[in-house]
Symmetry: C2
Subunit: 291 residues, 2 copies
């Protein structure tokens, strides 16, 4: 299967499962359910679910086994976007060309919809995961990636660092926490859902971390070099906000080189896995967005 076909299939499967596992918008509290669905079905690439599916598939796992984890990852990611876009944080009015949640539904509803999506990620993981013995580890992997040692911790330091003196160490710390932790969890949770052993989980963790770092560096580069149509958002926004970014510290060329090196590291970690062709292609895809 080509990566393109795999990503399209992932999106179809994940969107259907999300629709099935989210509360319907006609049920009270309707406004909250509508907001959660608005944010979730705004047209994301479903990259984290695709990583989880590919990781499970690399170990012979099935879609039925991995879809709850895949959906939990997407809900977690979406909640973080809703809260990051709030006026008190990044104050973004547009995401993927559409009004952000708080612009459309108000700040209070956006805060609560984000809160509810985080809760629902854990709910779906606990309720829908077929491999019951894996639930505790899945919840732990998601919580570690999402919490103060991961995504939210990275977001906090990112905000604190705005306008400060950038350094390579600082940028990498933020990228590892804010982005790579959830990529790592995506790969690891795919493995857990499929019953992976410790060595396989270790390999998937290394793969996910390196892939996440590559992805974020590429994102930084595209923010400097891309156009609005490609990005779905205004380019140069990170620079304008004086956000920590890889190109701001290392320059565009070195950033490209580093992203490629991370993708290579990700691919090197795959040697321990039986059937990792799609994971390897995901690593390539992450950096070829550059060209």
């Amino acid at each position: 299967m080509t990566l393109e076909a795999f990503l399209a299939e992932s999106k179809t499967l994940v969107d259907a499962a999300l629709d099935r596992w989210l509360p319907v918008a006609t049920e009270e509290p309707r406004r909250l359910h509508e907001t959660m669905r608005y944010a979730l079905f705004a047209g994301g690439k479903r990259l984290r679910p695709a990583i989880a599916r590919a990781a499970a598939a690399a170990l012979g796992g099935t879609d039925a086994e991995v879809l709850p984890a895949a959906c939990a990852l997407e809900m977690l990611h979406t909640y973080s976007l809703i809260h990051d876009d709030l006026p008190a944080i990044d104050d973004d009015d547009l995401r993927r060309g559409q009004p952000t949640c708080h612009v459309r539904y108000g700040d209070a509803t956006a805060i609560l919809a984000g809160d509810a999506l985080q809760t629902h990620a854990f709910l779906v993981l606990a309720r829908e995961t077929p491999r019951r013995a894996a639930v505790a580890d899945l919840v732990l992997a998601l919580a570690e990636a999402a919490g103060t040692g991961g995504m939210v911790g990275g977001e906090m330091v990112d905000i604190e660092a705005e306008g400060g003196e950038p350094s390579l160490a600082r940028v990498e710390w933020i990228h590892l926490k804010k982005t790579a932790a959830l990529f790592r969890a995506s790969a690891v949770m795919g493995g857990l859902a499929a019953g992976a052993g410790p060595a396989q989980l270790e390999a998937l963790g290394t793969f996910g971390t390196s892939l996440g770092l590559a992805f974020q560096i590429v994102d930084d580069v595209l923010d400097e070099t891309g156009d609005a149509a490609t990005l779905g958002k205004s380019p140069g926004k990170d620079r304008a906000a004086r956000k920590m970014s890889y190109p701001a510290v290392a320059g565009i060329e070195e950033s490209r080189r580093r992203a490629r090196a991370c993708a290579d590291e990700a691919q090197a970690a795959l040697r321990a896995l039986p059937d990792s062709a799609i994971l390897a292609q995901l690593a390539d895809f992450t950096v070829t967005r550059l060209s």
Copy 2:
């Protein structure tokens, strides 16, 4: 043991466990960890953890078994207070006589600290629960109580209902979701942590729901009749905000009667449990705050 001694013991045990399981404030991101600790150690009564401990004890469960669930409940509750206090929601400057999180640390940090406390509740549940086979059910019970079918759903409808025409059905719906769902989860999770069977969990669920409803009605009454020193907040605030409240619909006397009836229902549910003296006292305590 008297209820007073039990509550004091709960607070000591829960505070020590929270301190042990929360990231230290000297570790990055320091500001985030400091904010989480500020909110969590602002002096709550630890009522939900006490319910969980008492429920576990009623079935012969130990503190070691129930403390992770007890701490998770308190973290979940605290995150909801931080977010409810935000300017975009209830806009409260004081809680328990201290500046609220966003007043002290800013809105962005308060949002992220609330987010991180919710995540950490699930993390502690998954990482620290000794009875591993109960983790999935514990996570599910907490998520169901916290999500759109529970606490956040109740908060959403509470906001939407502000200033609208109050009705008994609406007020009870809000109270059941916003408050009673987490009380129910407290009792049920105490049972799960101690290995309760289905009939015992059912009894604990009924107990918790009735106790939660009694508690919230009493809270409404105290908001009308109490003084600032007893409440730790300004009385009459709910009325001023035209919040749905039991006394606004049914009057003070009928509210008192209804709270007592709920406490009686809670106590009646305890007959199925071996050693429920403390739980029964908790129900009495909830309504005697009235006098």
